[in-house]
């Protein structure tokens, strides 16, 4: 087992902290994120308001902490949708013979070559803006990558000795793929999922930055940044801290994800012997 480096430990701690902010924001920030105080509008960082205040005098620190919930919801939700859809399509392609495989992979390749942000923008254009729809849109646009990975893993794992043994003992096609192939494809899938949470957090905040995320006054990092952009001449704090929150969260997720990736490398369950 590899030792856990200090960078990875700090990153894991940060991810946990963001998770805590998403579940129980009141623990980290006392102030009401939606309390309007026009007298205190557009203040810089101070002891009373760590990250300053926005154009309505709302506490930016509190809004950043409360914003973790929507960002993580979109990130994790989108990844869950992509994972589910990817597993379904990938396993169908691997299990159902050549024709199904060819058709599904053609479609997957076309979607894979299409720019992700544009694809999720188009889906949001149809579904309408909200955080749930943002999660669906981003999930749909990242599903093709998962489908490719699942299919590839399944084709390798199917050659493994234990799978052949199961077939010899009379296990049907569905049983082989659900009970033996899918569980063993899980390690690389989990790594991709973790890395894709980071990408989905960025994609989600991009959508809300463009005004296609949750409705106001919901605190969300992307839309906070978009508002901050309009007051750059007066206050830099409003635009800087939400962006910092996104960046730090995604870097932490990526560092933990890459560390896991290195751990799983070379320990492939598909190896025959």
């Amino acid at each position: 087992m590899r030792r856990i480096g200090p960078g990875v430990a700090i990153s894991a701690l940060l991810v946990a902290l963001v998770g805590l902010a998403a579940i129980w924001p009141g623990l980290l920030a006392r102030a009401d994120p939606n309390a309007v105080e026009p007298v205190d509008a557009l203040l810089g960082p101070s002891g009373a308001h760590w990250f300053g205040t926005d154009q309505l005098g709302r506490d930016v620190y509190s809004r950043v902490v409360h914003g973790a919930r929507v960002s993580l919801f979109i990130g994790v939700g989108a990844t869950a949708i992509a994972l589910l859809l990817g597993c379904l399509v990938g396993m169908l392609a691997a299990a159902c013979g050549r024709l199904v495989d060819e058709i599904l992979m053609q479609i997957t390749d076309v979607l894979l070559s299409f720019p992700g942000l544009l694809l999720s923008l188009l889906v949001v254009a149809v579904l309408g803006p909200s955080s749930t729809n943002a999660a669906i849109a981003i999930g749909l646009s990242s599903a093709p990558g998962f489908a490719r990975l699942v299919r590839g893993e399944a084709l390798v794992i199917r050659q493994a000795g234990y799978v052949r043994t199961a077939v010899t003992f009379g296990a049907g096609r569905a049983r082989v793929h659900l009970r033996h192939v899918l569980p063993n494809a899980f390690a690389p899938l989990l790594v991709l999922a973790l890395l894709s949470v980071g990408a989905a957090v960025i994609a989600g905040s991009s959508l809300s930055f463009l005004g296609l995320g949750p409705r106001v006054p919901t605190a969300e990092w992307g839309s906070m940044l978009a508002q901050g952009k309009d007051f750059l001449t007066i206050s830099w704090a409003m635009a800087v801290f939400p962006g910092l929150a996104i960046t730090v969260t995604v870097i932490a997720i990526n560092i933990v994800g890459r560390d896991l990736q290195r751990r799983f490398e070379g320990r492939h369950p598909g190896g025959t012997f």
Binding site: S113, L117, L121, L122, A125, F209, L210, A239, V250, I251
Partner: protein, 311 residues
């Protein structure tokens, strides 16, 4: 027919299917969108029944679905993508007029990212030093930072504080600097990683040894001999690059209030201008299928062994 011509014919036929498929999906999506298209076109004003019926008739919404689908496909074949609800101009014309600023921006960003990443890769490949670790860390940060935040930061620092560059718009050379830098930063991290891996592989090849034996200096070996080979994997990335540039343009053009396809797309989606959204989708699908064919074709030219792999 030569095998390559047959392969090309098959791929082109397939790509027509893909584009028609994408257009059909877009058409289908238009049908299930909640809200009456006539109301969207009227921009929220309540029309009188006569005007309503007339607009409905002009848009063709009083006809059955198969007829509308047939008409849609017929128009598509003639390059007619319909009329924009908001701009009241043909969609094809709007896209055509907005294409060039975005291409300009994308080319500038690509050039910038390419040069920066090549310099990083040449300087750090195969060298286990502090510099390399620093550049790896920088790449991670660049990949994890949302481009729109970088854009806003650059805007704060260089336009509002230092007042070096215009705050918005600007077709001048100065106007394109900050948007191009913002767009390029998202690419440099990935470019540098790919080029460095390619360089490290190339530096182990016999031709590098022979160049060194002739007394060629290390920098010249890297720039003149190894870098060329390190660029081949970049061809594979072409689709991803154009996709990232196009997607990034939506954000960057919005931040810097620049004209272009990205900004038009963002406003069309926010304003539910569905013909324009469909038009952008169809054009993008066409660009990407053609691009994929071009990439595979290029691979067959670069490396004839690929003929066996890419069918």
């Amino acid at each position: 027919m030569t095998p390559t011509a047959r392969w090309l014919a098959r791929r082109l036929a397939l790509s027509v299917l893909v584009v028609v498929g994408a257009a059909t999906v877009a058409f289908g999506a238009l049908q299930i969108v909640p809200g009456d298209p006539v109301h969207v076109m009227m921009g929220g004003a309540a029309p009188s029944p006569e005007v309503y019926q007339q607009t409905r008739h002009e848009l063709g919404y009083d006809r059955p679905l198969p007829v509308r689908y047939g008409r849609f496909l017929g128009q598509l074949l003639r390059g007619d993508l319909g009329r924009s609800y908001q701009l009241h101009r043909p969609v094809a014309e709007v896209i055509g007029s907005q294409l060039w600023p975005t291409v300009q921006l994308a080319l500038a960003a690509f050039g910038l990212a390419f040069v920066a990443a090549a310099a990083l890769a040449v300087a750090t490949a195969g060298r286990r030093s502090g510099w390399r670790r620093l550049s790896s860390a920088a790449e991670l940060v660049m990949i994890s930072t949302p481009g729109f935040w970088v854009g806003v930061l650059l805007l704060t620092a260089f336009s509002f504080r230092l007042q070096l560059f215009p705050v918005a718009g600007g077709d001048s050379l100065e106007g394109i600097v900050l948007p191009a830098v913002t767009l390029a930063l998202g690419l440099i991290g990935v470019f540098a990683q790919v080029m460095r891996e390619g360089l490290e592989r190339a530096l182990e090849q016999p031709f590098v040894l022979s160049a060194r034996a002739r007394g060629t200096g290390e920098t010249a070996v890297r720039l003149r001999h190894a870098l060329r080979h390190a660029l081949i994997p970049m061809v594979t990335l072409a689709g991803w690059i154009v996709g990232t540039l196009l997607g990034g343009a939506v954000l960057v053009e919005t931040i810097f209030s620049r004209e272009g396809l990205g900004r038009i797309t963002a406003t069309a989606i926010a304003g539910r201008d569905l013909p324009l959204v469909t038009g952008v989708a169809v054009v993008a699908a066409t660009i990407f299928t053609l691009l994929n064919i071009a990439v595979d074709l290029l691979y067959r030219v670069i490396d004839p062994r690929m003929k066996e792999v890419i069918r």
